[in-house]
Amino acid sequence: MKSELGNPQSLQNTFNKNAKKRDLKQNLVALSFLSPWLIGFIGFVIGPMIYSFYLSFTNYNMLTAPQWVGLDNYIRIFTNDQLFIQSMKVTLIFVLISVPLKLIFALFVAMLMNMGHRGSGIYTLIYYVPSIIGGSVAIAVIWRQIFGRDGALNHVLAWFGIEGYNWFSHPDYALWVLIILVVWQFGSPMVIFLAGLRQIPGELYEAASVDGAGRVRKFFNITLPLLTPVIFFNLIFQMINGFMTFTQAFLITEGGPVNRTLFYALYLYREAFTNFRMGYASALAWVLLVVIAIVTFIIFKSSKKWVYYESEGGKS
């Protein structure tokens, strides 16, 4: 390299000649680095997705070959499947209640953690603990006990003379038992909010104080608008997670009572792995994908109205 530096012309020539060769070589090197993911992406994501799309137009029980039925599965889903309507309804209600609650909780605690008091690092960790273990079978076992007839909650209520129920098998409360469990795991949006809060320049608050703004005004005019990109991010991720909720409903309420907690993922699992209707379950999966895509699209579209980007003037 160094010897050629004296002559820019020859450097340019060698550069051009070598460029193609180097491009090819670098493509090959890149291919070798990428190959694990490429194999996975083609063999375990794209391939299966195409196959699943095909299956959604068939009846397939894994014993005999898939049988082409055209649009029958989709027609049945939308016109003649009470459980589809029920599970979609349950899932939407669950997402609509649990996601905002979780985010409000996460933001509230993150703001407490960001007040500059001593020990907030340790507190953050403590509040994060439920998020690591919340999806486990162990917590499902505990939840069944705590919200059971003879459980801890009813014992506490008994001190106040209230007689409780077997909460997770009561049609009106079963879903709430699961909502509480999910909101309890607000740790990761909290940490993300905390990172967002720390990015807000302190001068803004100082300037607002000089202008005589109180806490509430500062929150609505500074904190909330500047946090909207983080809120947006958390909203999308929690929403997608909400639609995929499975384990805790499977373990704690088993979809019951009277299908009040029959989450979509649970219904899909049953169709696929209990009834072995692989074709129908694939159609259900594609409907889920489209629903999630639509909701994501709506949130993205609406984000232009409420997410603050520094280049434009802020709208809150």
Partner: protein, 281 residues
């Protein structure tokens, strides 16, 4: 800061946070306490966090498991699956992320968009065809369906996390190495990988936590009791047909969380940083 007013507000603040934190941790504390309670006390004194006397029998009894299968077997299975998955995730995410962050290649933009799209892809869509695939490969009732995906970039999150991290490492370092005659493989192995330690630790923690907790994949792929992971073992243990007593069940539940707790305590610094930078669950 040292005025009287700030002192009272500080006391208020800390008592609120501690009280609220106690409420948050109550279910976990309750579990740990109940695992030491004698059987009748679990329901009699359900809300209390103090066992009248400490009993370790629940653990001894629970460890026996059910039928011929003890929890030693389930823990061993979980350890095998988790360890291999962690190795797989470290392997695939570091290699692939290096290519995206440092190399120039054809279709780079499209491929990166594909990667990001799969981050958002609900797993239900690929669940069924993947099951059929593994079924046809004869992998059902082996650990392979739980482990192999990790080796081929099954968690695009991790690749994304590593890409972000590697982009933050100054390019001058690899340029210098290349001028010194290092190949791209050398740059990866000797320059980038050692500097990626914090990101690798984050990947390790999350993969460990998720695999250890994972319920759906073992539920689908492992039907023989001798292959059960702790999650499946615990579920079978809590089944009314097998359930002999709450005490041992709660004891085993507590025990099943210990590996995650240990990892959390030792690596919390990386964990919190990892979530903040990438926003993973």
């Amino acid at each position: 800061m040292e005025t009287k007013k700030s002192k009272t507000s500080s006391i208020l603040y800390h008592s609120f946070i501690i009280g609220f934190g106690f409420l948050m941790l109550y279910p976990i504390l309750w579990m740990a306490a109940s695992s030491l309670k004698p059987e009748h006390e679990i329901f009699l004194n359900a809300a209390s966090l103090l066992p009248s006397d400490f009993r370790w029998e629940n653990y001894a009894q629970g460890w026996q498991g059910f039928g011929r299968y003890g929890f030693d077997l389930f823990f061993k299975n979980s350890m095998i699956v988790t360890t291999l998955s962690v190795v797989g995730a470290l392997f695939s995410s570091s290699l692939v992320a290096f290519a995206f962050a440092r190399l120039k290649f054809k279709f780079q933009g499209i491929l990166f968009a594909c990667l990001l799209a799969t981050v958002m892809l609900p797993m239900q869509v690929t669940l069924i065809p993947q099951y059929i695939l593994f079924h046809n490969l004869g992998w059902v009732n082996t650990f392979l369906p739980l482990v192999v995906p990790a080796f081929i970039g099954g968690s695009p999150f991790f690749i994304f996390l590593m890409v972000q991290f590697i982009r933050g490492i100054p390019r001058e370092l690899d340029e210098a190495a290349i001028i010194d005659g290092c190949s791209w493989y050398g740059v990866f192995w000797y320059v980038i990988l050692p500097l990626c330690k914090p990101a690798l630790v984050t990947v390790m923690i999350f993969q460990f936590m998720w695999t250890w907790d994972d319920f759906l994949s073992p539920l689908i792929y492992l039907q023989n009791t001798n292959l059960y992971t702790v999650a499946l073992g615990l579920r079978a243990f809590s089944d009314p047909d097998n359930l002999t007593a709450w005490g041992p069940l709660i004891a085993m539940s507590t025990l099943s969380l210990i590996p995650q707790f240990i990892l959390f305590l030792f690596c919390q610094k990386y964990l919190v940083k990892g979530i903040a930078t990438t926003g993973i669950k």
